[in-house]
Symmetry: C2
Subunit: 425 residues, 2 copies
């Protein structure tokens, strides 16, 4: 009888989880990868599903398919309800009921969700964008707003349906605002008989002093200028204090907008609280330099859920490259431990920071080299195509983008979930 | 002051409605095209969305986009709640409320939905396939069944989750059964650790004596042989008498099957009843030879909702070419009336009958020329690509099919609507 292989449980099939599992492909371990859904999602392009440029399957691939040749992995579609760090057990739930899994190593990479800073009642009026289902709901909401405006006979109501607000000037907010403005001004041009979609107002509202605050000042300014050129009204410096079905209040002003999107705050997956260790303000786990959890050297946290600083004191950003690096680092640490060695400290390699804004508009910060506009947009586009998982997905996305570029059309302007339209009321 | 243009109201943006609207593009009329959804659907490929081969937007295009250059059309996303044939009014409802529209000509092309022959309680256990939302629900149900089987520890339950039944041996049932068998035997191969998906049983149940009964006898037999070669168990001659969450009863036998799909009956859109004219057993309108409604020469019915016989007494089939021909014929009749002429009788031009079964398996009946197998499959494939609306859609579908052909993979194996998995219980 040989001894059973050490069991590595990975929670979350995002960039951190998937890259960790892959990095352990030749390791003498058995791996269980747990995810609520059945797919790995290429989150950087999620806003394009929401804005009808891509289909959901274009940016996602089944985890089982990606990992089917890796025989030491078992993929399970389940939610994790509890973690018992001392007993080294996770409690999972799926359609067959609940179950406890013992683990020798645990990597928690369940990510973040949107946060309304204590104003959970805003969620009903200003949905966020984290999952494919969020993206399809948002697509539906955006497309139905124009339908509703077309059907309205009252001019004030019509204007309210043609008024869109994106709350939060980070990368997601900027992408959504720029793309939505393009849709209104170009894609829908000539399709309506009672409204001119180009009259739609798209407001991007940021509480801080500038958009894309993770970028240097000059690129923030360029991003703002590019947004304004695309027709977006950018409002910075004053936070939103109230969101209702009618619009939002910002300082003294109440702005009517039937469609408000939340792209402002993130909160960590509540699972982090099970660990009983210090969390940062957003609920992320303050990990040790090797990404393990204080007091539990066999439990690691990676991806957006991990709070860790770089050598210069700035935090490691919640972006895909950081998540992949963390996932691989945890895998290396587990391999080292299995060999009786100590793991090393995680060091984030910053390859640069990209954000797209809209057609031919983007900003790129590669440290020494910063640029914006058309060149930055091509750079963003090629980088994202390159990193997209799956050969087919790359070709389909490239094709959809090419058609969108030449025709201003968007491939996925299909309203789904359509039998009950009561939510447009 | 010129006289207002005659108002043509078209209900339904399917093949009949869209082709009628297009055929009236130079006519001195104003057209209102009403549809519940925002898109035209290429229904012949709907089963491929359900079986995860294509994305929803691949087989649909926004009606507004298709018709945006045709200035005499207004597209409205609304449901029709009532038709007052004598007053020449339709009552519509959208998110802004209800409204009455006067018409000079009306074409009703609201299609058919599935029918459970009075057993509406079966709908919960055996969903049908008519809309994109149906297709996404079915995709989810099929993919979750394998997930559920993988998670089950009880062998009987596991078998029940690996047992699939398609009720109805028409083209949709045959397509679904053949494709599902391919998914189980090839696509999912090697992806699960606790089950062998190839052990899944796919049963196709037809009450009549043969599958594809609209085809000649020899092609029916060939279709059955091809299905069996793909691994489908074909059961004919005995109707299903009961469907529950556990399976179905057929004669003396209760077959356990957690996933049952309804592809058996169609019933006409209930709007037909508003007309107060004779309907056939399925609720379709028995139209006059010019497709008008008895007693209402300015009201026409086209597409699947119209019941009309060919010269040889056989009914015109409910297929896309017939719907297009009817739509164009109604347009021509309206043009003739505007010119003070009488319309002609509708004559269905039968270009043949195709049905696909699965990989390299199909049957084609072109009257004098009948064939099956690989050649028929290529013929089906090219014909469907050719008729798909939109250049982009054709390329994406071709690409998805090519990848599926070479790799056995399917592009859209993404479970959506995933936060609540209670429906798998």
């Amino acid at each position: 009888m040989t001894q059973p292989l050490p069991h590595v449980v990975i929670v979350g099939g995002g960039f951190a989880g998937l890259w960790a599992a892959r990095a352990l492909r030749t390791a003498p371990v058995r791996i269980t990868l747990l995810d609520r859904g059945n797919h790995h999602l290429f989150q950087p392009l999620l806003y394009q599903v929401a804005t009808a440029g891509l289909s959901a399957p274009d940016i996602a691939a089944p985890l089982r398919q990606i990992l089917r040749r890796q025989e030491n992995v078992e993929v399970r579609m389940a939610t994790v309800s509890r973690i018992d760090a001392d007993a080294r057990q996770v409690e999972i739930e799926d359609a067959t009921g609940g179950q406890r899994l013992d683990f020798d190593y645990l990597m928690l990479a369940s990510g973040v969700t949107h946060d309304y800073f204590g104003n959970e009642q805003w969620a009903a009026h200003a949905p966020g964008l984290k999952t494919l289902d969020d993206a399809l709901d948002l697509r539906r909401k955006l497309l139905l707003a124009f339908e509703r405006a077309e059907a309205e006979t009252d001019p004030d109501e019509r204007d309210a349906w043609l008024s869109f607000a994106i709350i939060g000037g980070g990368p997601t907010g900027v992408e959504l605002a720029g793309t939505l403005s393009e849709i209104a001004r170009h894609t829908l041009s000539g399709e309506f008989r009672n409204i001119d979609p180009a009259r739609a107002r798209v407001r991007l509202v940021e509480a801080g002093p500038r958009v894309l605050s993770s970028f240097p000042d000059d690129l923030s300014r360029k991003a703002r200028a590019q947004l304004e050129k695309l027709g977006v009204e950018v409002h910075t410096g004053v936070p939103v204090e109230e969101i209702t079905a009618e619009g939002y209040r910002r300082g003294e002003e109440f702005v009517r907008a039937r469609t408000v999107v939340w792209a402002a705050g993130v909160a960590a997956s509540p699972l982090a609280q099970c660990l009983g260790v210090p969390l940062d303000r957003a609920g992320r786990v303050k990990v040790q330099p090797d990404l393990s959890v204080p007091g539990h050297p066999c439990i690691f946290v990676a991806g957006d859920l991990a709070a860790i600083d770089r050598a210069d004191g700035r935090p490691v950003p919640g972006v895909a490259p950081a998540a992949k690096q963390m996932g691989r680092h945890v895998a290396r640490t587990i391999l080292a431990r299995l060999d009786g060695r100590e793991g090393t400290h995680f060091r984030y390699r910053d390859y640069g920071n990209l954000a797209t804004i809209g057609r031919m508009a983007a900003v790129v910060d590669l440290g020494a080299w910063r640029f914006s506009g058309m060149l930055a947009w091509w750079f963003w586009l090629l980088a994202h195509l390159f990193f997209l998982v799956g050969f087919r997905n790359r070709i389909v996305v490239l094709l959809n983008w090419s058609v969108a570029y030449w025709t201003h059309q968007r491939a996925a302007r299909i309203i789904l979930g359509g039998d009950d339209r009561s939510d447009t009321k």
